[in-house]
């Protein structure tokens, strides 16, 4: 992220100067990382080897980040994202396994379970006023146990055997496999548009819809929101239900990516779920979200993972660098904030 050099223009203070926009910094960082990895390993731009799997991963983890973002908008946390995803994937798997449900029905069932779990957490939080961290942490504990028990009861192991028809296509195919005459689609996995719909949906919700704006106002100041006639409790439930729904979608996307509905879905969701929104500039205090930033944050994380992987770094070093990048990015962001404040620009 760049701060100095570009002198701030004499603009009305309402508009941010270019350097003070955190998203620009993320885009610059993303391009710099891609350039770096490409020079070190030209294979980084190999479509089959890197780009297609990376897009699939970005699709999954962008939705994971959005799931956390949905409650960060309130200043809440959802520690149970991973397990909500697992429960949702279990429901999808069960629907297909026992009732032979087609893909869309299984997906809808899974999403409904995710949304219900989220709504349950939201309901407990809004009714009792207990910290969201505690409630979702306890829910996570309970669901960890429940997921394994359910898989042990309903399957002969830790995964369902079959997949709904069409789901393996989501895993293996890109649009390049579908041609109309001579014109084939781009090398984009089929998962990407699903994630894109989620991104657009959440973006539109928080920018243009009444519910979304009211959730943000609740996050900024719950008391003021209540006094302005916003049904604060209901908005809390809705935001958590959205988080659960998106966690469910992420669980479905990962299951499609892995090729099975298994108990391990969602195990590694917690860290990326915070990483992406926070890198993207969403605050933990609530009241403001950045959907685009979350997507960029996800992309940066996945580019680092893939790049270091290609450079044959060990797992431990990968983690080390992800942590360091997060710290560096946040510190730079903090610096940008301080500089912006000093120049009298609200950033």
């Amino acid at each position: 992220m760049k701060q100095e050099e570009t002198t701030p223009e004499q603009r009305p203070p309402a508009r941010l100067p270019l350097w003070a926009n955190p998203r620009i910094g993320l885009v610059v960082l993303l391009i710099a990382l891609i350039a770096l990895f490409t020079t070190l390993r030209p294979a980084f731009l190999n479509t089959q080897l890197t780009l297609v799997p990376m897009q699939a991963d970005i699709s999954v983890y962008a939705v994971v980040g959005l799931s956390q973002l949905a409650v960060l908008s309130l200043g809440h946390m959802n520690m149970a994202v991973g397990r909500m995803a697992a429960m949702s994937a279990f429901a999808s798997g069960l629907l297909h396994d026992r009732l032979d449900a087609p893909l869309l029905v299984a997906l809808a069932g899974g999403l409904a379970v995710g949304a219900l779990l989220g709504a349950l957490a939201g309901l407990v939080i809004s009714r009792t006023g207990v910290n969201s961290f505690v409630v979702t942490l306890a829910l996570d504990f309970a669901l960890i146990g429940l997921v394994s028990l359910l898989y042990a009861t309903f399957t002969d192991g830790v995964a369902f055997n079959g997949l709904p028809a069409g789901m393996s296509a989501l895993r293996t195919d890109t649009f390049a496999d579908y041609c109309a005459g001579d014109v084939c689609g781009p090398e984009i996995p089929l998962l990407a548009p699903i994630a894109l719909i989620a991104v657009l949906g959440v973006g539109l919700l928080f920018r243009w819809s009444r519910v979304g704006r009211e959730v943000l106002m609740t996050g900024a100041n719950a008391k003021a929101a209540e006094l302005s006639g916003i049904p604060v409790r209901w908005r809390v439930v809705q935001a958590h239900a959205l988080s659960g729904l998106l966690a469910g979608l992420a669980g479905f996307l990962l299951s499609a990516n892995n090729g099975s509905f298994s108990a391990g879905v969602g195990d590694g969701f917690l860290l990326p779920s915070f990483l992406a929104p926070v890198l993207g500039g969403t605050l933990l205090v609530g009241g403001a979200v950045s959907v685009l930033g979350t997507v960029l944050g996800t992309a940066i994380t996945q580019v680092i993972y893939k790049g270091l992987n290609l450079l044959q770094f060990q797992v431990d070093e990968l983690k080390l660098y992800i942590g360091l990048v997060l710290l560096a990015a946040l510190s730079l962001d903090r610096l940008r904030h301080v500089l912006a404040e000093r120049r009298g620009v609200p950033a």
């Binding site: 009792t128 306890a138 829910l139 146990g145 205090v285 060990q314 983690k319 080390l320 946040l330």
Partner: protein, 337 residues
Amino acid sequence: MTSTVEKTTRAATAPAAPPSRLRRTVRTSEFTLATLAVIGFVALTLTTDGNMLSAGTLAAFFRFLAVPMIIGLAQMVVLAIGQMNLSVGVLTGFCAMVAAWAMLEAGLPAPLAVLAALLLGAAVGLGNGLLVVFTRINAFIVTLATMTIIDGLRYGVNGPGTYQDYSAGLEELGQASLLGLPVVFLIACAVAAMVWFFFARTVPGRHLLASGGSPFAARLSGVSNDRSIVLAHALSGLLAGVAAVLTLAQSGSVNATIGDDLLLPSFAAPIIGGVALAGGVVSVLGTSLAAFIVRLVDVAQAQFAINRRWVDLIVGAVVLGVVLSGAIRAKLSRRSS
């Protein structure tokens, strides 16, 4: 062992005629937890035909209570200032791995390696605290980042390999008993007593609680909130180091997965024990009792050969139940007053 801040605020809000000392004691959440612990213990003893009281079972019960207790306290110290430390679990593993490495590869004698583990824990905690203070980034995020970094470092010490036979003396200590109680448990109790003393009787401890209760009021009273934050994180790291030493002593072998299963219990113990996430309130006794209760669930699982996963389910339900009952009780008492 409740901190007196809690007691004084309770006394202040109590009606004109303060209830008797006995009634006040009965009303504390520590009393409820102690009752629960005793009931659970007795029930478990009766249902297992007294198997719980056999020397072997009892010793094992307390030996594996030591680490959860200390890890709960490590989280509690940071909760006292209203922050969180996500790196406690991996830090415990990292310290244990480094100490084992120091003994096996660097040839350090056991006492020095133990000291190294403690210092390393405190140093990493100090780093967390300084990062929080200087960057002003939320501690949750800072420790999330350091958790990832330490996770990498922990694996980096010895890759997927296992260290064992690092010190006969240390392992002997892990198995030793004094007056029928395992020494590791007694050490944990001594550390807990020190933590209690720190919060109840020392100036930095009181300052720390003041910062947690109301940073603004603390600043007006001349307390440095920044110092409290750094101190709390350093202390949390030190306690993670203690947990690492106890792990080394009792397990006899360590690898890069040590500490993975400690993060969630580290929150469960203080939360069940009545420590507020908002800060300003600590309860060493409550945290220890909560760890005891969680351990009871663990033992019940082993005794009845229940699926391991029920434990998580039950602990989750217990945390939620405790939190809900606390919220309902607060609501009722507000309504009655």
